[in-house]
Point group: C2
Chain length 561, copies 2
């Protein structure tokens, strides 16, 4: 394995051997360690001292079902702390097959130059990308695959990232022309824009697959067993049929109320059924919709390919978070309109969660009326064009709140709240408050109810450790891997003797490194807090009103163990 | 003395006796203590839990030359920490004469209602101010003085404050129709707007002057002696002739370089002489300009009344900070244009320092070209109108940087840098970094050069303690009071036995309370840092390039004594 260092100021490419310390790290774990070792925590996230890191997990390239996630990391311009976001698609497996442990993008060009990094087998170079300036991710991917081959992976930013907007994510192409995979959160697209890097093209065609130390029969047996376990899991069945949008009927119930509505004022939405995975599945036959995988070989296939009423492709991977934050949260109940907004976010290169929250605050400020999907679509085009209002909302929830003097701001550590509702699913409040990543449901999803606070604290901690490991191994969370699965696969792949406890320890070390980075960047306990309105505005549940009222003393001790 | 509590939600007025703890506090000291006791440090500065405090200094109303400053305080929406800003004018003396220790404005109206607080002798009431919505401070002051009497003091916000912009200050009328006194810094105008309070009218006409405990011959003798000392001070002579703009010739020299130019890139400005106090004084005879006092009885009279070429009033108190930050910092060299910009800032109710820095970053982002005074005037009108770009720049330097992805941000603790340059006047760097108020030259002006770092640290600390006391006693810093002066006057006025050391102790307790508030609001050492460019971009001095390179270890220990 090797590390590719790319200096954007000097236009310099350097291959480095992997230091011993990093050999057993990948994905989120490697990012945390690299940030701590190499990035000054107080630096400007959009300045020359930040580094943008692309890294597959430990299983990247090993042909394990769902194990090809691509992690992207940097100091976040949104949270101003350590950030990792990961995407499906073919990037993680392709880099893994090329034995690239990480691509570390450093410094920035003096002017406004824009480049493409082309990694072709063992060669890498920076080439000018001026002709791709101001193009969306769909068109960028199309043009680069035309030029470098349909099997090349294209990782790129849209106009939002080029304009350094802190709501910008990074797109990656997926299996079979799929364009809807995003390392969306934390404004990493703005960091890529600040590096003057429009795209990375990774091409492993014609490259001998790097022999992995132990791609043995034993490994293949274990990988097959894992895929079978995933396939047999009832959660997979539901995910394969309805995608993440399958939860909408569950979360919209009056006992759960986790369908954010009107800038998180309510937890149920009258028209929720019209946005559900079941509805999308019902429309599929007449419109030519179907379920797709994003990574080659994935057995789950949770991504809705969604066409409009005329059968024309609108978007892929229409997710619960998108449907709720761009839908119910804005009181928009038109599925086709939300799908169009999703496509625009994907193309402009915007995080749908951040954008949904930012639009919610903009509606709070009467920039546009609640439910106005035409206005919302026009506003997305303002972001693309970089108009003043486009820049305001493209820079995320807190920027909108600041500019319009809105006090009700749904963020933790500067990052917009996911749909999962802390007032009813109290474990999510623990995760949002205590994760070094800010409000992030994928950092540790805990939906248990009717258990003690003590149990919820333990569940959130355990799930956060598991997820930090999952994002370091490169697996998709939807394969629901337990530490035993990860130890078994990593051991067989890399010739190690990890126990399940070692897997959790990888998670622990990762989170501790992120917390250490954040502390040095200026974070303290005051940053580990949910927005005030979750404490003061109750949701109306059948058994009475409910706010998030768990004492922070216990949450503040979550990582003291 | 008494405290006036005004609840904006309940439309309720309550007079309270002064608690014993507060008896020997006033101005900045009282604000620090009230914030610590009553405002949750983590609260939203524009929300219901913040409190807006108006308080004269300990000498308010005592007829001591320059001792009628009015302090305004709250948790700042700009710095998000403890904030005090004070203004000249007649507010401090009038409240002092009415024996009002403080006006504490609490909570906020449910809707968008706007009120005027009228304090008339011992009576106070809230009356609707709907007819004053969206009026500038000039017109608001005119209309309220027409209604309540030409001698009433009007304290008010303009459109910036009404729109909750964090660049908004609070205006106060002064002696003889003067309208140019502002508690400008820290976005306190936005807090007033968030309270739904358009103006406070203070009328002491017909009120028996509250007998002060010891307004004795002894007191009057000391007050007269103090006034004579001030008058005899050579610094006063210069200030009376040229105002604060008198320093421009000094600071523009190549050995000082404290005339910020092109968003603080340079420290000298070719056209500086055209903006100097001497130039303003030269123009005065033909244009009808003159020097004015802002408080009744002030012997310094440092405010330029500045007319245009046709003799029409443009602005008063055209200050060094305004001339540099709205002038050289934007490469604007037209004195009349800057005076017009100053008038607009005063009328809209904007801090000229914050606005100058915000415009500098906007020019960095190519929103308008360097030197474009016509564009700058148009942009001020955009702020007044609340257009998108107006909202962006009206919300201050960091908001502009965020929205346009600009890395070069001249702020400390979220507040724009004053003109005094830390790379050459290293003591100012110490003050900016260590003051709980953020980048604020009035927190402790240290212009010594060619002394050791140790001496500079001591000077900054001493000056910060003195200034915290000065702002608590209610004196103007331009009277250059030493602790002995303050002890003598306070003792004679209030029957105390303070030593000069007690005066410094008042400053010490004030700063410690502010730091405690800030810590609880989430501040740590990472917030006590200057913007990175001051460390990396040298000014070109005759004896070589110079950055701000004092080690932070020493600055971080400034308050450990």
């Amino acid at each position: 394995m090797k590390i590719l260092r790319v200096n954007m100021k000097e236009n310099q490419i350097r291959w480095e051997p992997v230091p011993k310390d990093y050999e057993q790290l990948g994905g989120r774990a490697l990012i945390a360690k690299l940030l701590l070792n190499e990035v000054p925590p107080a630096c400007d996230a959009l300045g020359p001292h930040n580094k943008l890191i692309f890294t597959p997990g430990l299983l990247g390239g090993a042909n394990v079902a769902t194990a090809g996630r691509l992690s992207v990391g940097a100091k976040s311009p949104l949270t101003r702390g350590a950030k990792e976001a990961n995407a499906g698609g073919t990037g993680g497996d392709t880099l893994g097959r090329l034995a690239v442990k990480a691509v570390v993008v450093e410094d920035q060009p003096k002017g406004k130059d824009l480049f493409i990094l082309v990694i072709d087998g063992d060669k890498a170079e920076l080439i000018p990308a001026g002709d791709l300036r101001n193009t969306g991710t769909y068109s960028t991917s199309d043009r680069l695959q035309e030029r470098f081959g349909a099997d090349a992976t294209v990782i790129c930013i849209g106009q939002a990232g080029e304009q350094l907007m802190t709501g910008a994510g990074i797109a990656s192409t997926g299996d079979r022309d799929q364009r809807s995979n995003h390392a969306a959160r934390g404004g990493l697209g703005a960091v890529m824009g600040a590096k003057g890097l429009k795209a990375i093209v990774v091409d492993d065609a014609g490259t001998e697959r790097t022999p992995l130390s132990v791609a043995t029969d034993d490994f293949r047996t274990r990988a097959t067993a894992f895929a079978k376990t995933v396939l047999a899991d009832p959660r997979t069945v539901n995910m394969s049929a309805y995608g993440t949008a399958g939860v909408i009927r569950f979360v919209n119930r009056d006992t759960v109320q986790s369908m954010p509505t009107r800038n998180h004022r309510l937890g149920t939405f009258a028209a929720a059924d019209r946005l559900s995975g079941q509805r999308i599945a019902d429309l599929a036959p007449e419109r030519g919709g179907k379920m797709l995988n994003c990574m080659a070989g994935c057995v789950i296939k949770c991504a809705h390919l969604f066409n409009d009423a005329h059968g024309r492709h609108l978007t892929t991977a229409l997710e619960f978070e998108t449907l709720s934050l761009l839908g119910s949260n804005l009181e928009i109940d038109d599925l086709d309109a939300i799908a169009e907004m999703d496509r625009l976010c994907d193309d402009i290169g915007l995080d749908t969660i951040e954008t949904g929250n930012a639009f919610g605050v903009a509606m709070e400020a009467a920039v546009l009326p609640w439910g106005d999907w035409k206005g919302a679509i026009a506003l997305l085009e303002e972001i693309r064009a970089g108009s003043y209002i486009g820049r305001i909302v493209g820079n995320g929830t807190e920027t909108v709140a600041r500019v319009f003097g809105i006090a009700r701001v749904p963020t933790v550590k500067g990052q917009g709240l996911p749909a999962w509702e802390p007032r009813t699913l109290r474990g999510m409040g623990i995760t949002y408050a205590s994760s070094p990543q800010g409000a992030d449901h994928t950092a540790g999803l805990v939906t248990a109810r009717n258990v003690t606070d003590e149990t919820l604290l333990k569940l959130s901690r355990q799930e956060q450790l598991v997820m930090a490991a999952v994002d370091s191994v490169g697996l998709c969370q939807f394969s629901n891997p337990v530490p035993e699965d990860m130890a078994s696969l990593v051991n067989a792949h890399l010739g190690l003797q990890w126990t399940p406890e070692d897997v959790l320890d990888l998670g622990r070390r990762t989170i501790r490194a992120e917390i250490e980075f954040n502390r040095a960047a200026g974070f303290d306990q005051a940053d580990d807090r949910l927005p005030a309105f979750l404490h003061t505005e109750p949701l109306d549940l059948p058994d009475g009103p409910r706010v998030f009222d768990m004492p922070y003393e216990a949450i503040d001790r979550l990582w003291d163990f």
